[in-house]
């Protein structure tokens, strides 16, 4: 990377920063919808599979196939269903990212130690309570790491949406490729990378915040505050 290249990049960005921001937003939008859809479908589906284990291997195998098909080919196939544009991109990204969320939800719940579910049942929890009070909370770290993988995949692959007439930072990358202008490719790739890293980091932070250690500390602090409040009211 020589000085003239950096100059080119800085010049390009200073002239086109509004467009870069717009495309970043569009990228985020496509990825966000795809990720939201993935979680919305795969989380309940994963829970359902733990209750119907006989069909679980087949459903996971299907998700595995979608993930294995080259993403560009998947986008191409879906033109026949959704035409060209962002809808197609969202659908393709959704199918592509199903596996980690589905698989992690399923195994996360399955791996909850059986003595905990036994203890819960023995104390008189219903099957539904066992699910949402014991199994789901304990599977949260595994589920979130599945979502992290999905989010990085989705943000990375969303760049290909431009190839089938969709928007996002892929536009910059593709136009840079066809014009052989590295600074344009980089103006698209750099924000996309930053987005993926931010999403990954953000989800990891979230996982920490909802984790038991932080939660226990919050409960203790909340109670302390209530106590102090009650004392000051007594003095008045």
């Amino acid at each position: 990377m020589n000085r003239s290249f950096l100059d080119l990049l800085v010049t390009y960005l200073s002239r086109n920063w509004v467009r870069v921001l717009e495309l970043t937003w569009e990228h985020l939008y496509i990825s966000g919808i795809a990720l939201g859809l993935t979680v919305l479908v795969c989380l309940p589906l994963g829970i359902y599979l733990t209750r119907n284990e006989r069909i679980a291997p087949y459903v996971i195998a299907v998700a595995n196939v979608f993930q294995t098909v080259p993403s560009l080919a998947l986008l191409g196939f879906l033109i026949f269903v959704f035409g060209i544009g962002n809808d197609n991109a969202v659908a393709a990204l959704f199918l592509y990212a199903m596996l980690p969320v589905l698989q992690n939800t399923y195994t996360g719940i399955k791996n909850v130690p059986v003595q905990l579910t036994n203890a819960a049942r023995g104390m008189g929890m219903t099957e539904f309570q066992i699910m949402y009070r014991v199994q789901l909370p304990l599977a949260v770290p595994v589920i979130i790491s599945g979502i992290r993988v999905a989010s990085v995949w989705i943000i990375g692959t969303a760049a290909l949406a431009a190839a089938i007439g969709g928007g996002g930072l892929g536009r910059l990358i593709f136009s840079g490729l066809s014009a052989i202008r590295n600074e344009v490719i980089l103006a698209g790739a750099l924000p996309a990378t930053l987005l993926a890293l931010t999403a990954d980091y953000g989800l990891r932070w979230f996982q920490n915040v909802v984790g038991p250690e932080r939660r226990a500390r919050r409960i203790a602090q909340r109670e302390e505050k209530i106590k102090i409040k009650a004392k000051s009211q007594q003095k008045e």
Binding site: G124, Q129, V140, A220
Partner: protein, 376 residues
């Protein structure tokens, strides 16, 4: 309170886990189910809260058959403690204890007060422990919380499935004593499963010894130890107990029958003759009501004979003795070191239970040496 009526459990592969079991457990009773693995003790326990349905017969809790009532309601009224402890790692200690009250929809304030009450009962400061996570506690503390969790909603019946099985011996002994204290205070009906005979004898009001799904013998710890009905019971109690004897253990196994027991009204000369016949130097005096009145020594008898006393009344010495159940093997050994004469063992109501002698201790030592092999 809990009743098994001809209950059998046969698994799909044909194994008979429980075979025509009938057992009545009264309110406030501490019953220990014990036996080798696969004897059906845990299966029987799990039939009480209907985690294991019976194949035939019926289990009745609080007057209702468990297969008729709603299992969820049934279980919320029965405390349950398991060997793996099973505290929820994502919840605080306070929340773990409050599990069943929460399920029952108790008000927040009532639940909180109950949690603090229980933690205090177990000697754990609520301020320190309520907001801790289970992972931040020792194994012993975790199982204390497990027991408190079972007590939380004040159930009538508590089921304990080898609750102390995974703890080290010192912690285990401590928790056993705490459980006994607790039981004296709360008077619950407790059904406790273990494979450790010492634990069973220490805790139980009644021991139910099982094998192959059937009851081999049922009775108080004393009954099982003094009157085992067959070789299986004898070996199950004997072998395990001998290997576990420690200086701080109870003296029960060392007690032998007193060679000479005499009435206080007897003439010293007669007692002297009897002692001579048995070539002994001491006799135990027991009155008509069965109470121990002291131990009389050969020298005192000779002096009484010379003094022409008409009876041995008042000759018994009662300063050297062991009182059950507090006496330990170490106490016995210390008394025997000072003076080589039998040490009388006195039961709780003042009756003579027998004596302990040096040769008894020697026999115990030999059996331990041959059992344990070379010292490690």
């Amino acid at each position: 309170m809990v009743e098994f009526q001809n209950v059998s459990k046969i698994y799909e592969d044909g194994t008979k886990a429980v075979d025509n079991l009938s057992l009545q457990i009264d309110r406030g009773e501490f019953v220990v189910l014990i036996g080798p693995s696969g004897c059906g003790k845990t299966t029987s326990l799990k039939m009480i809260n209907h985690l294991e349905p019976a194949t035939s017969g019926s289990v009745i809790v609080n007057g209702a058959a468990v297969d008729v009532v709603d299992p969820v309601k049934l279980r919320r009224n029965i405390g349950y403690v398991i060997q793996e402890i099973g505290l929820m790692p994502h919840l605080t200690v306070g929340e773990n204890i409050a599990t069943v009250p929460h399920l029952l929809g108790w008000a927040r304030k009532r639940t909180k007060a109950r949690v603090e009450e229980l933690l205090n009962l177990a000697g754990l400061d609520p301020k320190v422990y309520r907001h801790r996570l289970p992972a931040q506690l020792s194994g012993g503390q975790q199982q204390r919380i497990g027991v408190l969790r079972a007590l939380a909603a004040d159930p009538d019946v508590i089921l304990m499935d080898e609750p102390f099985g995974a703890l080290d011996p010192i912690t285990k002994g401590k928790l056993q004593s705490e459980l006994l204290d607790l039981q004296h205070q709360v008077k619950k009906t407790i059904v406790f499963v273990t494979h450790d005979i010492d634990e069973a004898l220490k805790l139980a009001d009644r021991v139910v010894l099982m094998r192959r799904g059937k009851i081999e013998q049922m009775g108080t710890p004393e009954e099982l130890q003094t009157a085992p009905v067959n070789d299986f019971v004898r070996s199950f109690i004997g072998e395990d107990r001998l290997s576990q004897i420690s200086p701080e253990g109870p003296v029960d196994t060392l007690i032998e029958d007193a060679p000479l027991v005499v009435a206080p009204s007897l003439n010293p000369t007669i007692v002297l003759e009897q002692l001579e016949e048995l070539s002994r130097e001491t006799a135990q005096i027991v009155d008509r009501r069965g109470r121990w009145r002291g131990m009389v020594y050969l020298a005192d008898l000779l002096e009484a004979e010379r003094g022409k006393r008409s009876s041995i009344e008042g000759l018994g010495r009662n300063d050297r003795k062991l009182i059950l159940p507090a006496a330990t093997v170490r106490d016995a050994a210390e008394l025997l070191v000072d003076l080589d004469a039998p040490v009388p063992v006195i039961g709780e109501n003042g009756t003579l239970r027998g004596v302990i002698t040096n040769s008894g201790i020697a026999r115990l030592t030999i059996s331990r040496l041959t059992r344990g092999g070379a010292p490690s």
